[in-house]
Amino acid sequence: MELETKTPQNQADPYREEPFAKSTRYLAEMNSLTAFHASHCSAYSRILHAAYGGKTTFDSLPALPALPVRLFKEIDLVSVPHDQVLKTLSSSGTSGQRPSRIFLDKETATSQAHALVRIVRSFVGNRRLPMMILDHPGVLKDRSAFSARGAGILGFSQFGADVTYALQTPSLLPDWLAIDSFLERHRCERILMFGFTFILWQHLLLAAEQANRKLDFGDSILIHGGGWKKLEESKVSNEEFKGRLRSTLGIRAIHNYYGMVEQTGSIFMECEQGCFHAADYSEILTRDPRTLAVQPHGAPGLIQTMSTIPRSYPGHILLTEDLGIVHGADGCICGRRGTHFSILGRLASAELRGCSDTHQVPA
């Protein structure tokens, strides 16, 4: 079965589609992907049969079947023959849990890369900028750690020139020499920076503050992601995060992104107003965690993300365990169109005590 790609990739700006036109196009693409996966992934088809009577065409985005994102940690879901699987991505996974396993074929991997390029370029421009990775180069070498973090660094490195790492392997201490000479080389140039939220906070910002170092990255743009969980535990808000990065490191523009290994490529970037935006590849809605009813704009709920990219695995509609608020389908004052939203955090974990262990399992 051939799939028609209607995402307007020829446009440079992924945030320009008129909302009504998008919703019509998007529903058609989601229905077509649902039918494609139902006929190519037997486990997915069994789920649709059990939960939706085998239906593959739905008349609205909320009606479409969403898979809980945790399902990818529990079972292997793949929609292409095994010999076409180019690589398997795995999430870092919280301790004690199996990581997600995401199977990519050439086509899906390529679409992921294209999506990332269009989205990121709309923020950093088409020119390759001198780039500093706020991490250590060992992440790419360590096989066991080569997961979302390594893939993220590799994916973003393509936007930079003179890619330089700010931290040392394996100590994660700031490589002041490398940083200083990088800044020296690129004085007065626009600089691109990329890192994982918690790593750069812990190992660069706090380290710089402790060492009483003040840096000035000048005309710089930082893109960071990976989640707020650990910063939330240390009660650091986005405002404080940005404020301290500005005052200590002199970073001018800071953009968080929301993404997951299960939908690599079609990330949600944070705009200048602090809202995450769906690009033309993606869409988002929130649901009441108990009833799964779709929440109106402005009401908090479980985030459901959609992406037109997943073709080799049925991950086009995912129910996450993150809570968020959709602010609107259009009209963010940053000027970008499309659904924009905020993240509130993760669904609190809780354990029913269960018949699992008397006690003696080592912690």
Partner: protein, 408 residues
């Protein structure tokens, strides 16, 4: 860290261990033990907070003198003229999921005359603390000194060397818990003369006659819903005896009518009890339902698996593997069966409690005799799945805690 919880006077577990092994056994159903257990029952029933907790009320009821004397009568009838004595020191490892088990295990062993060491889970619920306070208060009375000298309740983190030391000191070891911890504990050697009783993970089911449900009056249905909810929801469906599979007996059409009749009553009853779980429990249920469907265990999932009642219909080709999907919080597999005799071959050694509605003893007796090897240890009326019985997992605990002196 090792903390001694009972007796409160003994802060040093080693000294108490020595006192306890030196004290030895008392006679089975010694009046002081019966009085002590009755005293605990009274203090729970007099406690305005505890008596309102259904689980504690059930425990208090079980501990009443009248009930303990019934246990004694049954014990004596079984024993006849034979000589049954306590084994010595019993070492109990309590489970984390059901707070009252430690008490049943301990008190039954106490009734037979044993000295007892109880290791409690670090994840124990608040109710355990309330019970221990009552026990410690009673043990301060001088008349209960013989029990104080024969009791040690402790909590400690993972510590094989302490487990080994305690295991060398006991004559009987009792393990309650998940398969993993049972496996681990069993690998710790014990006194060569000691015997061991093990209660690992089990699975339980409810078997309902579709016809009987359909013919129930609204009042009967309300009662039925209460009984089912007690069995399934008291311990968040995490007790081994709580049903996780509901089998409907009858022709397909009757079963469906009965389901339509039954489940809304359950939802009403849960609403009446204001049962509510953390939101993530709903997600666990959604994931469990989809994992089951993806793995061909289930062919139909009822709408909204995140609600209080989640139902997934087992597919005809589903093997026994669904039993290991432990979800809790009201997740039910369902299966239809034309009659009881067709159910028996589907049961396995993991199956412990079968709670029933709408069958008479004659039918159940025939069914019990047709059970496959090791399958099903208890067949009890719906609503009593969690009732503790001295016959547990296939053996009589009072008998397992005692030894027989063969007088010829």
């Amino acid at each position: 860290m090792i903390s001694v919880l009972v007796p409160s006077a003994a802060s040093d577990h080693d000294a108490q261990l020595q006192r306890l092994t030196a004290a030895g056994t008392v006679r089975p159903f010694d009046p002081i033990v019966v009085d002590f257990i009755d005293a605990i029952s009274k203090s729970v029933l007099l406690d305005l907070v505890m008596r309102r907790i259904p689980e504690m009320a059930a425990v208090a009821h079980w501990m009443r003198k009248a009930h303990v004397l019934e246990l004694r009568a049954a014990f004596e009838a079984k024993r006849g003229q034979r000589i049954w004595l306590g084994r010595g020191t019993a070492l109990h490892f309590a489970p984390a999921n059901v707070d009252s088990i430690f008490l049943y295990s301990w008190f039954l062993s106490m009734l037979i005359g044993n000295a007892n060491i109880v290791r409690l889970s670090q994840r124990r619920g608040e109710q355990v603390g309330l019970l221990l306070d009552k026990i410690n208060a009673a043990l301060e009375q001088e008349k209960f000194a013989p029990i104080r000298d024969r009791s040690l309740v402790l909590a400690y983190d993972y510590d094989d060397s302490l487990t080994a030391r305690l295991s060398q000191a006991c004559q009987v070891r009792v393990l309650w818990g998940g398969d993993e911890s049972v496996r681990r504990l069993r690998s710790v050697p014990m006194n060569p003369l000691a015997s061991e009783i093990v209660f690992p993970n089990r699975f339980s089911l409810a078997v309902l006659s579709a016809e009987s449900i359909i013919q129930s009056t609204p009042e009967q249905m309300d009662q039925l819903a209460q009984r089912f909810c007690n069995d399934a929801y008291w311990f968040d469906q995490m007790a081994c005896s709580s049903p996780r599979l509901v089998v409907w007996i009858g022709d397909s059409h009757r079963c469906e009518s009965a389901q339509k009749f039954f489940w809304p009553r359950i939802e009403e009853e849960l609403a009446r009890r204001a049962v509510q779980y953390p939101e993530v429990v709903g997600m666990n249920k959604l994931v469990t339902a989809y994992v089951s469907a993806g793995n061909s265990l289930v062919d139909h999932i009822e709408h909204n698996p995140t609600g209080l009642v989640s139902r997934a219909h087992l597919s005809s080709q589903a093997g026994p593997g669904f039993r290991s999907l432990e979800c809790g919080g009201g997740f039910f597999f369902e299966r239809k069966c034309p009659d009881l005799s067709r159910l028996a071959p589907l049961l396995t050694e993991r199956d412990q409690t079968l709670s029933y509605f709408g069958f008479d003893h004659k039918q159940l007796r025939a069914f019990a005799h047709s059970l496959p090897t090791r399958a099903v240890d208890r067949i009890v009326p719906l609503g009593t799945a969690l009732n503790f019985s001295t016959i547990w997992d296939g053996s009589d605990l009072l008998q397992s805690f005692s030894r027989e002196v063969d007088l010829q």
